[in-house]
Every structure is written in structure tokens, then in C-alpha cells.
């Protein structure tokens, strides 16, 4: 009696495990596996990846490991025994940390030729640029029209009384666009001036929330959330997303970006071959693939950022709805890495306390 129970349980468990195991399909020559580690925002077209897989007789397995910081931490902690062959998604605010930890192998891809020099931040080519995007203030067009209010053109104008209580931003300690906007103010006002500026912003009714989702969906009036603030720190590509993801696409984006000098901070994302990979040849092929025109043209509508390859054509919704700042704010990557902690700490004491 007891034995029957035991047998039954065992069969159940085994059956369950068997059901979970992947179906083993073995073609004549089993393909090699290339593992790509990346963050949660990574997206790509299924067909494109399938094409790469067929061409190189390889199975590409993606490990999406949380947000950028989380993925990078995992790559650094596992550097003795890498989890993957390729790592994509480290940006210019974290790049120095990745380079210092030595997680990448250098690779001078021939495709670097078609990438503008401004994006090639690492001259040794341990990390290669893939895409870029600007963190900008989005505004609700209808609000400014209804209230007959001029859209602010610079960071300085945001402290004027007519914009009191109209801007929502994210805490730079918990949000990547929040940090990018803080960096833009540092690029514009310098290390000596940015805290005074933030004090003025706070006095002018600045609203700070923890994450982009809350800022955009709850507080911003131009999104589906219909919140109280008509200006939000978001991405330069968000207006295109409002059009592209609308149930019935409007003729024109309901929101736009403020693209004055230094109002936007430019984020660049990089790919690198993880140190110690046994699949160096495939890793190189995949990096080349990511920099090639087909993948680069897939980027905008999958991840809502711009391709770095100058030969890649942009989709129509991007051309219509995304404004690109002439003079985005930038800071050197080692300066960011050295001071990020101090800047955020000082910001929290100035704005939150």
C-alpha cells in the first residue's frame, strides 16, 4: 500500500520533470550554441535571428538578466566562469566599470568603419557601440496649446514661475533616465552649479518619482495615464512610441521633446565579447551581425533607439515623430564613473531631504 503511494509520487515527479525537459531534436550536425547576455529591454525580430542561426548553423540563446545594472553585475560576478559569449547593453554611464572589471575581449570589427567616431568611445574596441538614444523632456502638446503657454527651450527656463509644478522627473538613484537627466544638468551647469539649479527646480514645484513607469504613466498628462504634469523626463523616441503603439494611430504624435542645447543626455549602448569565450569565431560573427544594416534597421522599432550604423535607414514613424537634438549633453565615461555616487548622494540631500 505504502509502496504504491511512493511509486505513484515518484512517477508523478518524474513525469513532471520529463514534461519540462526540452524536446530533443537532433539534426544531422547539431548546431553550436552561442549565448548572449543582455538586459530586459533587449528585443529583436524573430526572423532576423533565425536567419543568423541558419547562416552559421548556431542556436542563439539570449539570457535577459534584469535592468542594465543587474545584467552588468552578473557579468562581472561571473567573469571567472562566464555565463555567456557576448554581452550587449552596457551604456556609457556604466562602461568604465565594465572595462575596469576586464569582462571583455577586444575585437576590431570591420564594420566600425561605418560608425561615426563620436560613438566609438573605447579606442581599444573592447566595447563596440550598437545604438544610441537621447533622454529628453517630453511635453504634452495639447496642454501647452490649451494654456497658451510657450514650451521652454532650455534647462534654465524650467525654473521660471509659469512652469511651476509642471515637470516630473525620476530619482537618479533608482532610474536610468533620471540619472541621465541629472548628468545633463551637470554637463550644462558644471559640478559647481548643478545643485543650485536643482534647488531652484525643487522650489519651482518639481515632482520626483521613483521610476520611469510611474513618471510616464501616472504623472505625465501626455500618456495614456493622463496625469497632472505636462512635462516628463523620458526618451526622445517616446513620441514615436505613442504613435506606434496607439490602438488607432493618430496623424501626429500627442507629445514632443524639448531639444535645446544640453537639454537631452545621450546614452550609447555597447556590445562586447566576454573574456574567455570558447566560441570566439561565433561571437565575432554575432557582433558583426549586430552592427550590420539588417539588424541596425531592426533596432528602432524593437528597442526605440537609433542605430549607430550610418547606412541604416530609419522607419517612417521615427522620421516623423522623433526629434534629434543638435547638441546633446555628454560627459566623459571615466568622469561619470568616478563621480556618479557622489553626485547622486548630493542630489538626494538637495532635492529629497
Amino acid at each position: 500500500m505504502k509502496r504504491t503511494y511512493l511509486l505513484l509520487t515518484l512517477t508523478l515527479i518524474l513525469g513532471l520533470l520529463a514534461a519540462c525537459a526540452p524536446q530533443s531534436a537532433s539534426p544531422s550536425e547539431s548546431p553550436r550554441v552561442l549565448t548572449v547576455m543582455t538586459h530586459d529591454s533587449f528585443a529583436a525580430s524573430e526572423g532576423l535571428i533565425a536567419q543568423f542561426e541558419a547562416e552559421h548553423n548556431v542556436t542563439v540563446s539570449f539570457i535577459r538578466s534584469g535592468d542594465t545594472g543587474s545584467a552588468l553585475n552578473q557579468a562581472i560576478l561571473s567573469r571567472e566562469n562566464p555565463l555567456a559569449d557576448v554581452f550587449y547593453g552596457v551604456d556609457n554611464t556604466f562602461l568604465t566599470r565594465a572595462l575596469q572589471a576586464g569582462i571583455f575581449e577586444s575585437y576590431s570589427s570591420p564594420l566600425l568603419e561605418v560608425i561615426p567616431a563620436e560613438f566609438i568611445v573605447d579606442p581599444q574596441h573592447y566595447a563596440l557601440p550598437v545604438d544610441y538614444g537621447d533622454v529628453c523632456i517630453n511635453y504634452d502638446k495639447a496642454y501647452f496649446e490649451e494654456h497658451d503657454l510657450a514650451v521652454p527651450a532650455s534647462l534654465e527656463e524650467l525654473t521660471q514661475p509659469e512652469y511651476a509644478g509642471l515637470l516630473v522627473t525620476e530619482n537618479p538613484a533608482t532610474s536610468s533616465p533620471g540619472l541621465a537627466f541629472l548628468l545633463a544638468t551637470i554637463a550644462n551647469f558644471g559640478e559647481e552649479g548643478y545643485l543650485d539649479y536643482w534647488r531652484d527646480l525643487a522650489d519651482n514645484g518639481l515632482v520626483v518619482v521613483g521610476d520611469w513607469e510611474t513618471a510616464y504613466y501616472t504623472n505625465f498628462s501626455g500618456s495614456s495615464g493622463q496625469g497632472p504634469q505636462p512635462m516628463v523626463v523620458s526618451y526622445g523616441s517616446s513620441p514615436a512610441a505613442e504613435v506606434y503603439f496607439a490602438e488607432t494611430p493618430p496623424d501626429e504624435a500627442p507629445t514632443a521633446s524639448i531639444i535645446g542645447p544640453n537639454t537631452c543626455f545621450r546614452q550609447i549602448e555597447f556590445v562586447g565579447i566576454l573574456n574567455g569565450t570558447p566560441n570566439r569565431d561565433l561571437a565575432e560573427a554575432f557582433v558583426d551581425f549586430m552592427l550590420s544594416v539588417p539588424f541596425q534597421e531592426d533596432i528602432p522599432l524593437q528597442m526605440f533607439v537609433f542605430p549607430v550604423n550610418t547606412e541604416a535607414a530609419l522607419p517612417k514613424v521615427f522620421i516623423d515623430s522623433v526629434q534629434v537634438p543638435d547638441q546633446p549633453a555628454t560627459l566623459a565615461i571615466d568622469v561619470i564613473d568616478a563621480s556618479r555616487g557622489d553626485w547622486i548622494e548630493a542630489w538626494m540631500q538637495t532635492v529629497l531631504e
Binding site: L72, L83, E213, Q226
Partner: protein, 572 residues
Amino acid sequence: MALKSQLGSLFKNPTWRAALFWLLPAAFLGYFFYQPLLALFELLISPEWGFDLSTLNWRRVWSPLEFTIGQASLSTLLTLIIGLPGAWLFAKFEFPGKQTLKMLTTLPFILPTVVVAAGFNALLGPRGWVNLGLMALFDLNAPPIQFLNTFGAILVAHVFYNTTIIIRVVSNAWTRQNIRLQHAAAVLGATPWQTFKEVTFPLLRPSILAATLLVFLFNFTSFGVVLMLGGPQFSTLEVEIYIQALHMLNLPLAAVLSILQLLCTLVITIGHNRLSGRRDRTLAPGSPEVGVRIPKRGLERLVVILLVVSLFALLVSPLAALAARSFVKLEADRGERGEIQRGLTLDYYRELGFNRRGSLFYVPPIAAAWNSLMFAGITILITLFLGLLVAYGLRQRTALNAILDPLLMLPLGASAITLGLGFIIVFNRPPFSNFRFPILLPIAHSLVALPFVVRTLGPALQSIPVSLRNAARVLGASPGRVWREIDLPLLAPAILVGGIFALTISLGEFGATTFLTRPEYPTLPVAIFRYISQPGALNYGQALAMSTILMTVSAAGILLIEHLHLPGKDLF
């Protein structure tokens, strides 16, 4: 034969018997919990990682610690104030819709914080139903209720999340009480209040304390609620660990915070065990059905109605608001947005079935639901098996139990981030790296669920009188038969509750999941997060639709478990 009798005598010594029961659970905890944590701390607390106590920013340690203790105490108190009357309601009264309400009050516990935040936003946010209604009613221009990003929001969300723990654990114990004791007290001339104070409450005390401990620990390690509903002014230890580890890349400080949080958990658990140290009385349990009745008299009926209404308002309305929002378009009718976009819609659900962008990471909702249920099923099997062993091990108070029990509770105090990073260091090698199936995922869920199962099974097992077992043995029943016919039926309700806790924890867990998930096996929370982290009205609507699916799947899971036909239900 000699060996058998030797083993038999070993089994008679309480400490050795406890040790035997603990063998497997302790090995499980040691291998999957303590090993990765210690490996991570060993790595981070080294000068190589820039660890230096003298330059540590202690400000980022003490201020979160202070806030964590304060908010956890207040939240727990409020949860008890709502939960205990709720437990009384479910234990003592029969009313229409009781089973449904009980199931609905469990749902909050399952939901990932992203969804809970969206739910409260749909109810109380600037464009939530309440504010919209008030604005329309009084012709206001601005939303009158400021809820999000306040301390109050944290407290309300904690009550929303954890009330079910009190209700489930305490009402389960209350139902089991033998009504004859109260009757005896009444016959002997005790007033209802005296009966409650002298009979009912002392018997409930272990369950109340156990539930309070679980609620406090959950509040103590609260993360998503504080981050998403409290806003940037508030930071618990867990939030600070997240900030330092993932945004500042200051892993040594994150390690110090994790260790502090674990120490606090340990101290709280040991303190709790001291407090509940008095020997629990074992009394013949009564029939679950005897004490339950339909509320009579005007006053009693009024109280019951009030309780049902307030549980509904507090625990069910945010869920309802969320579900309603997934069926409704709420675009304001502004001129340049084309035609007015309001009204009922199924678009969000329909759209879930399409992979519009041909994305590699598109998740069909059925697949996500299936994966979630599969992980939950494995979690239930692991935790019930290990939980029963631990509950038997804990039956007698031995020195071994005093040490092992707090160590079992520690996973509740471990940050998902710390555990996730520890898993990466330790298990990123064969055999685990060879599995395509993320078996570590249900294992991580089991670590969190196990304390709940043990805390549910423990009091139930304690309350089984030895006399019943002895009687069975005297009548010639084998140990196996004693277990099947005495223990199992009496434990059945507690096993169900434990199973529900394991199910809900596994379905909603998101923290460790992000570290362990594999793209081939996305879960429902992962899919929800995927939609909500992209702009566009459609994505937002789809996230809410997916959340509603998660609620439905969870409700189905709970109902299924509650209707499992375990022996003992109709034994009396």
C-alpha cells in the same frame, strides 16, 4: 535486527528524532540558500572589491534601518487590526459569497508589486476611478485625492498585501478549536468576554504570533511597494540594497546591508520564539462545521456586514479597478487626438495574442500562464514535502530546534538581489548550467515559501493530542496507518493552506525570477513587466490585461486546491 532496534532506540530520543526529520530540509537550505549567500559575502567583503569599513557611507545604512523598523511595525499593527476581525468573520460565520470573498482576499498576496501599483493607480491615482468620480461629481479641475508617493500609500499597500496571512492562518486555527470548551466556560458562568480572554484567545495565541511574525518579516523586507508607491523619499534596507547593488554598482555596501537585514531577521525570529515559548496546549480538535453559524440578532448582523464591506473596499476594490481598467479605454477627448476614444474594449486582450512586431521575446499569454503554473506546482511539491518533515522535526522542543528554526526563517529576510547574485556565482556551473529548464527558479520560490508552510503546519500538528495517536497504536495500528488515519486527516486543512501559500508565492515572485529565468520559460509576472516597461497606451492596457489573466489563473489555482479532496474533510 540489531540495527533495526538500534535505529528504533535512536528514534525514541527526541533530539535524534528531530535531527532525522531535519536531515533533508537542512541539506536543502544549506545547499541552496546558505552556500550561495556565504559565497557572495566572502567575495564582496574583500579589499579586492574595494571593501573598506572606514569609508563606508553609514548614512545609507542607519537611515534605511530606522525607516524599515518604523514602517514594518506600523504596517503590521494595521494589518492585525484589519486581519483579526477578518479571521473571526471567516472562522465563525456563514454568509453568502463567503468562499468567493475568502478567495478574493488571497489574491493581493499573489500579485507582483508592479501590478499592485497599477491597481492602486487605477483606483486612487490622479486618473483613478475615485478621483475621476469625485472630479465629475463636484466639477473639479484637479484630482482631489493625493495617494501615490505618500507614507500612507506604503501602509495601505502593506495591509492590502498581508491581511490574507492573518486571515488564513488565524481563521484556520480558530475553526479547529473545539467549541465544547467555550460552551463549558459559558455553562460555568463565564461572560462571552471572559470566555474569549481565558479560553479562545490563549488557544489562538500561537497562530496569531506566527502570523504576526510572517507579516512583520514581509513588511520588514518590503521592496516594490516602497519603491513604486512610496516614491523616492522612502527607502527600506531592501530598497537600499537594490539601489547600491544595481544602480551604484556599490556591491560591498549592498553586502553590508544584506548582512544587516539577515541579522535583523534572525533577531526578530529568535525574539518571536522566546515570546511564544510557553508550551502550547494540545486539545482534542473540534469539528470545523460546529462553530460556524449564520449571524443572528441585528447588531451581530450589522458587524458582519460592516466587516465584509470593509474587506471588500480594502482588499478587493483595487483588484476590481485594475481588472475594469483592462476592459475600458480612457483616452480624454482632446481635439487633435482624432476621434473620442472611450468605451469598453477587448482590444488589450485581443492584442496579447498577436506578435505585432515579430519580436523574438514575444510571450503568448497561455504559455506564460502554463510556465507559471508549472513552477508553482513544483514549488508546492517541494515545500509541502520539506515542510511536513520540518513540522514533525519541530514537534518537540529541543536545543537543535531552537537553532535550526530561526535558520529556516532566514530566507524571508534575504534580499532577492543578494540571493540571485549568489546563485550566479555558485550554480553557474555543471550540473545546473547544463539544464535548459530553470529548476533553480522553483527552488528559489520554495526557499521563500517554506517558512510559510512550516508556520502553517506547525501549530496544526502541535494541536493533535498525543492521546489520539496512542489510542490508535494501542488498538494495533502501524505507524504508517496512524499517520494516514490520525495525522493526515487532522492536518489536511493546514496542508491546503500551506499549499495555497506556496502557490501564491511562486506565482507572484518576481525578484529572484529576474536572475534565474530563461527566455524559453517566461512567467506571467515577467510578461507583465515586459509590457509595462514600454511606452504607449496599448502596452499599458496589455500589461493590465495580462495582470487580470494572472489574477484569474491564481483564483483558479486557489479554488482548485481548496476543492482538492483530501481525507478528513468529511471524517467527523
